[in-house]
Amino acid sequence: MLRTRFKDILGLNRRNQEYIRPYNPPSAKRIADNKILTKRILRKEGIKTPEVYKLIRTKKQLEFLDWDSLPKSFVIKPNKGTGGNGIIIFYGKTKSGDAWIRPNGQTMSQRDIVLHIENILEGRFSMGSKKDIAILEERVKTDPLLKQYSYKGVPDIRIICFNKIPIMAMTRLPTKRSNGTANLHSGAICTGIDIATGITTYSMHMSPTAIMSDTYELLDKTIDLKQNKILSGIQIPDWNNLLEIALKCQKAIGLGYIGVDIALDRDKGPVVFEVNARPGLGIQVANQTGLRWRLEKARGLDVKSIKHGIRLGKNLFGGEIEESIESISGRKVLNIVERVSVYHKPAVSMRKRKQKIKVDKEIINTFMDTGVLTSRMTSSLANRIGFTDATKYFKSIEMPSNFSTLKDAQDYIDTQGKEIVKHEDILRLAKVVEDGKINIRPVIRITVKMLGDVKDIEVVITNDIIYPLVIGRSELSGYLIDTTKTFK
């Protein structure tokens, strides 16, 4: 395993010049910067967005706003706002009915809200301080799963897509410090998501004490809930659908490099909050990996469909969950069928070198079997890696073809085994059940490389296995086995 190097990380300079400028045309950026237009386009494509209750374009419209027609909970947003500025969420009305309640418990009277909307109209929160439109929209009711990890507000999931491939994802969880918003700069927690599985990995938040902004602090639990919960290992529901929605948004808006913010509504399911033409780079910290190498891998690939894009994203960039588990548990994750390098016996390598065939190891699809103690290998593989003499020698020995009980077999090994078997490569004999019969087979020592670890292991030569090599549980301590995948 390699460490992430600075050259794998995407900085603002490169993001702007290599990805935003060439891949995000001004027309598409104009759509992404305009929430109303974005909603209209996404709805045409059948993508759900929060329902708009009112659009206030002028002070006159504000003056005649029918406040009674508004539900108890709603959200006010500037149409062209940036960085979550100017967004206010209301959870309900006070008992007296003359004020609305915010996530932190503070209330805002109708006059306060009018003033806030007037500020939006004047462009206080919009890009370039230009005149803006205030959107009064539905408040998303958070899915119960993510709700338990966030302090009030609405958590969301950001998926970055490039060249119709999902590249990286994170979930942003509101905290007390962030006042219920999912804004990282305000103190929300960001948790990386494994693209392949939709399972959360690393978590962090911006350090409240750091002098420099953008200084992150690693977390393993939520920070301000009554009962703080571990943040890694959460399965984001409906993950494939979320990836599909993100790619559909990319196609509909026309941005080559896009950040799609999706919330999970209790009743409606995934709802797209907004699309971002200049998504921030903090997602790299949440995933503990760089965006640059991923974007470079995705660039130029011919993506035929949304499904193809998802498959590519999962295959190219999945697997963070394994690293996360490894860092937490100290154990490496092996797939149930893993590619393992099997080293040839030195003599064979020498011969092959003489023949100018530079092969001293081969990669074998290997089955991880916790049901057997000792590892197993087929005789053909044993022959290939240089144990032909040993297998021939064993075949030449006269010995009972099968035993009625395991005890009989063990007695035979204990009493006569050492005298019968006198070959330098055969370490000992082992009893195995082959096709329902109890047999005795030779054990040899081979060298393998699994997940970067080179180790000598003992293997029984037997042909009663489906894979050429089976690793038994005596070699699997210190590993976790992922049964969902065959190999990377």
Binding site: M1, L2, R3, T4, R5, F6, D8, I9, G11, L12, N13, R14, Q17, E18, G83, N85, R111, D112, L115, E118, N119, E122, R124, F125, S129, H185, S186, Y202, M204, I211, M212, S213, D214, T215, Y216, L218, L281, Q284, V285, Q288, T289, G290, W293, G319, E320, E323, E326, S327
Partner: protein, 220 residues
């Protein structure tokens, strides 16, 4: 001061030496701001604010300039915090901020006169330079309204830091004389800005920001 033939020609054709120095200072300061942004990741209130601030400091002297800046920021902070609870429109809030700033600066001058406080030369400061510094209050309040106090203070400090570096550069006689006599450097500054404008590498700030990632394992 001896000028090169080209500079002498310019000075004989309607350009005063002070204007020339000021114009050169603008080019240098703008380049410092762009280098600070794209190589170091230092945010500032655009390009205009650090330029104006650095030029103002060159008229007031750094010590007086920084003191006035501190008064402006403290007043803006105080007035915004006081007015936050009162319902009013944004522009009126800014206007009140300026009114309070006027009062604070008057009080400040009186206090300095009364207690001296090693700033005895304050009365000689050109008023226009002081007004230029006062404009920083507007930038600060605008930022403070949108972002947190911490974020606004960070940008103020980095703007002041860039302006201070700029002040140092433009007030060196050696630099000023060299640039006045070698005006070809201005196109060189343009080329340098083009180069920085195309720089794709990480900013110095990015190295700090992403240092936690480089300590982690990768499956590249």
């Amino acid at each position: 001061m001896e000028y090169s033939p080209f500079t002498t020609w310019l000075l004989n054709h309607g350009l005063s030496s002070q204007t020339l120095e000021l114009l050169i200072a603008i080019a240098i300061l703008a380049t410092i701001v762009s280098f600070a942004r794209y190589l170091f990741g230092t945010k500032s209130y655009g390009v205009y604010a650090p330029i104006i601030l650095a030029i103002a400091y060159s008229y007031t002297g750094l010590k007086y300039g920084l003191v006035i800046t501190a008064v402006v920021i403290a007043t803006s902070l105080l007035s915004y915090s006081m007015l936050k609870k009162i319902r009013m429109h944004y522009i009126t809030r800014i206007a009140i901020n300026y009114c309070i700033l006027t009062i604070s600066l008057i009080l400040f001058f009186v206090l300095i006169n009364r207690f001296v406080l090693t700033l005895d030369n304050l009365q000689n400061i050109p008023p226009l330079a002081m007004i230029s510094i006062a404009a920083l209050g507007d930038f600060f309040t605008k930022q403070y309204v949108k972002k947190s106090l911490k974020a606004s203070m960070l940008i103020v400090f980095s703007t002041i830091a860039i302006s201070t570096i700029g002040w140092y550069v433009i007030t060196r006689d050696v630099i000023s004389t060299y640039f006045s006599n070698n005006l070809w450097i201005i196109p060189v500054l343009i080329l340098a800005n083009i180069a920085v404008g195309q720089f794709k590498g990480l900013r110095v700030k990015d190295f700090f920001r992403f240092r936690s990632i480089t300590g982690s394992k990768e499956n590249a």
